[in-house]
């Protein structure tokens, strides 16, 4: 198929190579009209490019600026707001590398560090779900690899339109299949994530992929081209016409039009086998000490890697673009620069190390080519068969893009939304109604079992997965001898953020933080993927600024630094934006994974305690949404002090082995949490609710967890809770074959399990 596409493309473009637009040409024809608008640059931005270079850009230079100054690469609408993550960062000594690097790097002790990051691949996953999601995994894995780390696990936070919508049946199986194909083939366990449904995601699914990697402190690599004379090596897949819709605009506009046949696919195609070889090859190159600096090629490909490496090194670079190995011989310099072909890395190598470097690449069958060298000129110069086609200061493309202060306006509809109090909703009153509502949540696509999805992912490979879905957090063993490990959770809630983006984002942070603590791990650092509509809509910018402020303030208070992240704007169809959906990932360190806390009740005759305070809070709740289709009022109250105390209790109780299980309470409240714990551990329980049953079962008050106490440790645990000021309420005991809410209703375990599994299995087969 590839060869057919290639030949079709060659025919359409004509047999003879197109002469490139050189720097000399640009000087000779200063007034030539250029298709900057079709490439996404505004008139002002184009003028700025001309001012930076001191002449009109060549086609290749225009290609570089158009991709490097795009929203995706430059963060031009978000940058001034994201500064808060640094300005409000808590004092910490755990960060070895922070924001601005490919991924943040966190010291976890014993000489180990971990690096983790979450990134969106929303738009490609809607256009072509399978390859869009697959290459999303591939891209984030290379970000982690570029830090010098071995990738050790992935997670996915997925959001789709209604589960029964026809288009969801096109998008969801494709996305899950793509993640399964790529992640499984790479040998990375998939240890958790999220799956949520809402009509707002129907035309804008969210596919956020997280990767975590591990390294020794001394192995940290940075994206910097240091040392004039060092060689620039491109390794991995050959470059083809992938994901360069923009370049074909350039091609057809400036070269007289190649017709429809030249249109390139806007979604890249992934080859996980090449990525696996690239991972092993790079790790062997790092271990051999042959790499001075390294950068992955993702969005904006060679344009991004060359500008960032030379800007990062404070050096210059000279690159022969005609040396880039091609899959399609008809590609010109601008297209090569913009190509998003997957499975490529760029390394800076000392001249004497080039031969051993290439030998290791040959061992792994990874193509590698010297394409240039580092200079001390401060200029990025590129040639095409000897003719100069790029001559720019690299920092102007990489770091000095435009920064916008977009208008921000709180939407007028927000007041009506908040005053639409969920108190008016009819609540279940008797046992039968309570039971029906619990089963409604348990049997929904949002509240139900996710194994239709997670069974397609390998969670066992590498043999260090201690906890994975359906537990609250993924937990990985890092050191077999000491039991050191890391826990990860991602959370987001579009309904909460819709009602109050500041509080909603803090609730997402709090939930991920709580989930990590529920495994027994100490929360340490944060990554985020901020999914929003168009930044050109002041109402969306208001949501965005509130979310960023909420996350920065929340991280400051919880003393967990933001290490990096990703912004995805333009998640909207026409004028309808998605609900604001910041997804927050929290990483924690576990001192001894042998003392992990599972989420299921698997031991009978143990005491069940509810930790935290329960208030009637139904705004944005799963119950209000599923029972009444209602999203209104305020989200649950945020109390980060209470979250911190709860986490301290969970971590200490885990370390002292006082608990048999812990499960965080979030969407669906205590009712759903109890049902999940019973199903997961295959053990029933009898509980007595200490107040209004509907409130206790379905309210989503934050800073709560349900725990199963080790029978000999009840007194010690009570003392621990009292000392930390965490309210602990005895609910009942485990045992039997039913979940019974005393005086209200009971559900046999078999019915719980079958309802839990029903939704996705019925919808997707």
């Amino acid at each position: 198929m590839t060869s057919q596409q290639t030949s079709a493309r060659a025919d359409a473009a004509g047999a003879s190579p197109v002469p490139p637009d050189t720097v000399v040409d640009a000087q000779a024809t200063p007034g030539r009209t250029q298709p900057y608008a079709a490439l996404g640059l505004t008139a002002d931005e184009y003028e700025r490019v001309r001012a930076v270079i001191g002449r009109r850009p060549t086609d290749a230079e225009l290609a570089i600026y158009s991709v490097m100054w795009s929203e995706h690469c430059s963060y031009k609408s978000s940058r001034r707001h994201l500064r808060q993550f640094a300005d409000k960062a808590p004092a910490t000594d755990v960060l070895l590398a922070g924001m601005g690097q490919n991924a943040g790097v966190v010291d976890i002790g014993q000489g180990y560090a971990v690096t983790f990051k979450i990134e969106s691949h929303n738009h490609p996953s809607y256009v072509e779900p399978y390859q869009g999601a697959a290459t999303g995994v591939g891209g984030i894995v290379r970000d982690i690899l570029a830090m010098g780390a071995r990738p050790i696990a992935v997670m996915d936070a997925l959001r789709f339109g209604p589960a029964d919508a026809p288009d969801t049946h096109r998008v969801l199986p494709g996305v899950v299949g793509g993640i399964s194909f790529y992640g499984n083939c790479l040998g990375l366990p998939n240890i958790g994530g999220e799956l949520a449904f809402d009509p707002c995601y129907l035309g804008n699914p969210l596919v956020n992929a997280l990767c975590v990697g591990v390294l020794r402190h001394e192995d940290l690599k940075l994206a910097a081209a240091k040392g004039p004379g060092n060689q620039v090596i491109l390794l991995g897949s050959r470059t083809g016409p992938d994901g360069i819709g923009g370049a074909s605009v350039l091609a057809s506009a400036s070269f007289g039009g190649a017709g429809e046949g030249a249109k390139r696919p806007s979604v890249q195609v992934g080859d996980p086998f090449m990525e696996k070889l690239l991972v092993e090859c790079c790790l062997e190159l790092y271990a051999a000490g042959l790499v001075v600096g390294v950068q992955d090629l993702g969005a904006a490909g060679v344009a991004c890697a060359t500008t960032e490496l030379s800007a990062g090194g404070g050096t210059g670079m000279r690159v022969s673009l005609d040396r880039v190995p091609l899959r399609d011989a008809s590609l010109g310099p601008a297209e090569i620069l913009m190509s998003e072909s997957q499975e490529r890395m760029m390394a800076i190598v000392r001249p004497a190390d080039v031969a051993p470097f290439l030998a290791i690449c040959a061992k792994w069958d990874v193509p590698a080519t010297v394409i240039g060298d580092v200079t001390d000129t401060g200029r990025l110069e590129m040639t095409w068969h000897g003719a100069l086609v790029v001559d720019i200061p690299p920092g102007s493309a990489a770091d000095e893009g435009p920064v916008y202060d977009r208008p921000v306006r709180r939407p007028r509809s927000q007041d009506a939304l908040i005053s639409d109090d969920p108190d008016r909703l009819a609540r279940p009153s008797d046992g039968a109604e309570l039971r029906a509502d619990l089963l409604l949540l348990l049997g929904s696509a949002d509240g139900g079992d996710k194994s239709w999805v997670t069974e397609q992912y390998d969670c066992y490979v590498r043999g260090d997965t201690v906890l994975a879905t359906p537990h609250d957090a993924g937990l990985l063993r890092i050191d077999e001898a000491t039991g050191l490990g890391v826990a990860l959770a991602t959370d987001g809630n579009g309904r909460y953020c819709h009602l109050d983006p500041y509080a909603g984002t803090q609730l997402a942070l709090a939930e991920a933080y709580r989930n990590v603590a529920a495994s027994g791990a100490r929360p340490l650092a944060v990554t985020n993927c901020l999914n929003f509509g168009s930044p050109e809509d002041p109402a969306v910018m208001w949501q965005f600024t509130e979310a960023v402020r909420g996350l920065a303030d929340g991280c400051q208070q919880l003393r967990v630094p933001v290490t990096g992240g990703n912004v995805s704007f333009y998640n909207q169809t026409g004028s309808a934006a998605i609900r604001p959906t910041p997804v927050v990932g929290v990483l924690g360190v576990h001192d001894d994974v042998r003392r992990r806390l599972p989420s299921g009740f698997s031991v009978p005759d143990a005491s069940i305690l509810l930790l935290g305070e329960t208030r009637p809070e139904f705004g944005g709740s799963l119950w209000a949404w599923l029972r009444h289709g209602h999203v209104g009022g305020g989200p649950p109250e945020v109390d980060l002090q209470a979250e911190q105390s709860l986490a301290e209790v969970l971590v200490a109780a885990g370390a002292q082995e006082l608990l048999l299980a812990a499960h965080d309470l979030s969407d669906g409240g205590l009712g759903l949490a109890l049902a999940e714990a019973c199903v997961a551990g295959r053990c029933g329980c009898v509980v007595t609710l200490p107040g209004d049953a509907a409130t206790f079962l379905f309210s989503e008050s934050a800073a709560r967890a349900v725990v199963l106490v080790r029978p000999s440790a009840e007194a010690s645990f009570a003392r621990l809770c009292a000392a930390s000021g965490v309210p602990a309420t005895e609910l009942g005991r485990t045992g039997g074959e039913v979940l019974e809410v005393a005086g209200k209703f009971s559900v046999p375990l078999a019915e719980l399990a079958s309802v839990h599994r029903s939704a996705l299995a019925a919808l997707f087969g």
Partner: protein, 225 residues
Amino acid sequence: MTARIGVVTFPGSLDDRDARRAVRHAGAEAVELWHADASLRGVDAVILPGGFSYGDYLRCGAIARFAPVMGEIIPAAGRGLPVLGICNGFQILCEAHLLPGALTRNAARRFVNRDVRIRIENAASAWTSGYQPEQELTVVLKSGEGAYMADPATLAELEAHGQILCRYADGNPNGSVADIAGIVSEAGNVAGLMPHPEHAVETLTGPSADGLTFFTSVLQAVALA
């Protein structure tokens, strides 16, 4: 003397690290074997691990079967060397004609990762002698092309010679004929398993430690040889 068990790494092997760990848990020395080296480094037994060797291009195991290391393994297996192929390793053994039949796409057409129950049918092979006949184990199944297929004549022969090593005991997860999860050569030294015993050697990271006995069984076979 500690037994030395080789674990082959092909380009795209994924569970090689896990197989080496299982060998160490069993008390043997794990020896890394490289696909491009025509050498078995004097090992006492060989494991072909799971993964996507050569990207599963062409057909699972079809390219790996021609790797230089296989040029050594195939004749050595004929001379009685214990060989265990797990998942992709099983596919390679079938492609190499060391075992009959083939592994095809799962009946549900999707990758399946699930804890499964299997029943040991032959507790006399080099890799299962530590189990009791009909003993049930919980192990991990994770594969996209795990449905074992063979023609009726081959199946009858497998049955007749006790070559069915284990069967799925609690539902058929992938459409394998006769619920077959693993088979063994007539001589009892070459075994292929679709489930992963190396992911069930410690309860911390697996559903059970039931799989460890595959790796301790072979130590006995090696000691007797």
